[in-house]
Symmetry: D2
Subunit: 344 residues, 4 copies
């Protein structure tokens, strides 16, 4: 069975594993106060063009989202996000567990627009009983979105503008950030995203690391006390250096970008093959996640050799599935899949 | 200015005020452990045909909803409700503040159907990563709904059946329960609602009392420790007897039902007058809340003498408004309003 | 049975009941946005000498404490208080329910000192792993304390100074504020307390009202969004005017102070009688709560006619009890009790 | 600098690192649903003699404590623990953040007794206003305690008995479990601890793993829905197999016990050396943490070459420090330290 069901089915890039092994018996202070974490933070600040940013390392995405959001919002504030946003549908209500309402906005492609944000804010402000409704306090977007789609530079700029207008924080979930940055047609750099968001994170779990997400805080009001929040929410890793060591590898010589590009290239090969056979796509994704619509018979055939994540039925006899590539996807796997697609 | 903007603009029914005055200088134990509360609970059990029910008194609706819901759900469970449900839109995220996600279902008339509940549960159960999504644990409905509409006996029965099938609790928000029970065409009795729900509340604030909601718990698993929950959530009134005294008046000789009927009758007079002029209604409500669609010019005229709650614009030149009657609405006010409607 | 077990066993002062009755059928806006609330807030600002203060009305003490504390602290901050503090022992963990640790300091007389606060802050600041411990963010004191004792002007000044030094908020729980202000020997005015605290509340429930606590916020950072917090925590009374009407009576002609003084005078008569018989006191209280140590035989005798709250055994055959007077305590009750004490 | 300041300053035991490396590029399902986790759970059940236990893997100790406690308690219940308990002092109020009060009991050696638990429960049950106080719902103990001390078999049996009597859950924090089990004089086996607790965890972070704690749930009421809790609290590792791989190594051939014994043996050498010089100890610990009282001059000398964690001053010129050994402590380090101690 060759797995295409997610982008976290292998361990980590061999270069990271070697670094972990090399340092394994060194003694360092705990909780992210070691030299590896300091250097990794410095490397990230550099690549983000954000010399003043605070950088902290957490273990996983849900943990990161709940910690960032809970640390940034007042208790009566909620977070605007696409109805398909990870925090709205796939984190078991972790954000609500911290006391905050997720204010879901209708979305068909995984994205929300500045206009939708503006409408939500206007609706709130125009309510004579506004204190009876949750106040929008933050905009959460994923880049790429859960459907593999990307915000353009002008879309992100418009979101930043509406956030400024209504005093909202802008938070970018970058669980798959590399796959977005390296996608064909993307017009946003890491520095752009850093400059336009109050806080964002660079995903490691899905892009080359065993685990780990690097939170980059540009808004200094959010930086105060962040380590307390990390500890209180159970997210401060005792041997924090494991995070520093991995991110230092990812960001010291461009590895993060190279392996991200690899996944995108592999995904485009699959996309072309599927397009060539005339299949539709639920979303037009330039990144490592592809969402083709397959006849159920064809899908059944492919599933004899490959695993995908099922998403949902379309009509009676077709299904949207998700096919994921990653930094680890071999050419062999791609060649095999493409050949089997052609044979359908 | 004659106010029709809500059903809590006066104090309490004079009979309750007299009872409060009469007992004012008596000494009693606090926290609802007095004889008035005991008698009121007994009267409520009787009228509900629920001799085993636990009855507790709280001060307000939001407090009641958050206390009931938080006491009944496991921390990873959420509550299904109409998108227009009070807990979803008008309680500043109080339910989320207790850690639980409100799982909103699309609704156009303030109601949800058994089929919608079933779909939500099936979707959850069929998810291979079900632990990543919030588990539906309760169905919340309002009777009448926030739009004045009612569930029929068969609709409620169907909801009960789907709750049984998926092990969901059924909770009925009865902030305006009396206005629903006494509405023309309603085929549910208080005893029916009690028998079909795990827990519900009888609203006092909007139906004759200064304040107060009587929680009736039929599911004994929910009754355990409820007083701890009340105290912890700040909802245990020190001079609890004030609640007992009022509910004892409301339920000792049918007062609650009589004054509810009065409000419905008054609302029907307004409805007829509006219908007579050919106005549309956003919702077809048989209860004390009416939602006509008025040309903005006519609305402006009426607002010289009356206050309503504005709901929203329809097209460029019409608006849906809410007109509320209550136990306290005088014939004079009705006569005046109807005459001014006729003159539009 | 004559009750001395608490100071909330009657309804409200007759002057308040009359005001409630008089206004009962008026129509007003809800949620504290009526004229009564505005006037009451204005009267309170005047008597506090705090023209800029925000004043909000809540229903009960636990609700007030949890709302104020949760609205003021960052999520990783805790509140320092005496081990006997109401929030630490008698609110079912309501503060913890909002996510904050109560940092209890040893106390024998219900009070804490500036030195204890300083030690706690120093301990936190000197911890190399300070982010692993809860950061003190607020000092909570009760005036009078749960044991009837009072802070002197110099003690409160010292607390204010240490709060300034360590950037702590100072919150005064004034559930029985009047009884403290009017006590013999007290050297603090309402204006002093207002000037020295960031936020405090004036208790109505125990001092003449049916219910109600007036929160006075002097620190403008705490005032922002307070109504959202009230609603979210279930503490915004629909018919908010009931609070305004009562506080307007209490503070328009000095009623609050006169009835508080009455309770203290009555308590002093009991204290003198007990002292005259040679009984010890667990605490030396100049306010309406007295804590004598009685031989169990004598206590049993008194309990034939009077109710007290039991506190705890002292050795094998004596007990500390609490005797409470209130604004409502009649001369007859006092005369009777004193005569029965004398006869022991 | 040779570090003795904690037992998590190195990475993991080489055998675990090899296993991680070996499996690095395998594809497996995520979230702990892989074969490694299944086998590790099975190995743990076997070594615990608990064939029915549910075993789940989390990343860190604070995360484990908050998840277990929050999943097990009703919202109005609190957890009894020693005043020195990790959850009370070193987790930034993580338990309170989930809404529960930590009910601290005085402790001088890091332990609490069955009698203290009984007193706390009696106090609660005898309170006429018991609903105003937090209900004890769980007993939390650490084995070994934060001061390196151990519960004897009879002490643990007594705790179990009092938990049965008052319907309390018993939870054992085993962050350093191995160091306790292998200590000289310990009379409790892993199977004993498993049999006597409702839930406990086997610490990996401090005993040979890069990270990871194995929660063993014997009380089936606590097992329901635990994976939802893990995900909601941010504790479900995407590449869950990393935990399974490590615990499988630790428990497949007794490695966990051998490396634990090693640390204890090293600690005893230090203890003997210190005793030989006549130093006092703050606690009499048979495990890997030692708490000697050293003259500040001697301490300063040692700190030129070694790092310890400072605990606190004793009088003017002495200090208690903590010296930790671990599975990774080399003989060289011990020889060096002992020789320098002798030379003081």
């Amino acid at each position: 069975m060759i797995r295409f069901e997610s982008d976290y089915e292998e361990g980590c890039h061999p270069q990271l594993m070697e670094a972990l092994e090399r340092s394994n018996l060194e003694q360092t202070p705990g909780y992210g106060e070691d030299e590896y974490c300091k250097k990794a933070a410095e490397a990230i600040r550099r690549v983000c063009g954000a010399p003043e940013a605070a950088v902290h390392f957490l273990v996983g995405g849900t943990q990161t989202n709940m910690t960032v959001i809970a640390s940034a919002l007042k208790s009566y504030e909620g977070v605007l996000c696409a109805s398909s946003g990870h925090i709205n549908v796939h984190e078991t209500g972790a954000v609500e567990y911290t006391g905050h309402k997720v204010l879901a906005l209708d979305s068909h492609d995984g994205k929300i627009s500045a206009r939708q944000v503006e409408e939500a804010c206007r609706l709130h402000e125009s309510d004579p009983d506004m204190e009876h409704t949750v106040k929008p306090g933050m905009v959460y977007i994923s880049f790429p979105s859960e459907y593999g789609t990307l915000y353009s530079g002008s879309e992100l700029k418009a979101l930043r503008a509406v956030c400024n207008k209504y005093h909202l924080l802008l938070y970018v979930d970058g669980a798959r950030l590399g796959y977005g940055l390296m996608a064909e047609g993307n017009d946003l750099s890491l520095a752009d995203i850093s400059a336009m968001s109050d806080v964002f994170y660079i995903g490691g779990t899905k892009v080359g690391a065993l685990f780990g997400e690097a939170v980059v805080i540009n808004n200094r009001f959010l930086a105060d006390g962040f380590r307390y929040h990390m500890k209180q929410k159970g997210g401060m890793l005792a041997k924090g250096r494991l995070l520093g060591i991995q991110f230092l590898q990812l960001f010291s010589d461009g590895l993060y970008f190279r392996i991200s590009e690899h996944a995108d290239v592999q995904a485009m090969k699959i996309k072309e093959a599927l397009k060539g056979k005339g299949y539709d796509f639920a979303f037009d994704s330039p990144t490592n996640q592809q969402f083709p619509v397959l006849p159920d018979g064809h899908l059944k055939k492919l599933e004899e050799k490959y695993s995908f994540s099922f998403r949902n039925k379309v009509g009676n006899d077709r299904s949207v599935i998700r096919i994921c590539t990653s930094w680890a996807t071999h050419d062999d796997a791609i060649t095999s899949l493409i050949s089997d697609i052609s044979a359908l």
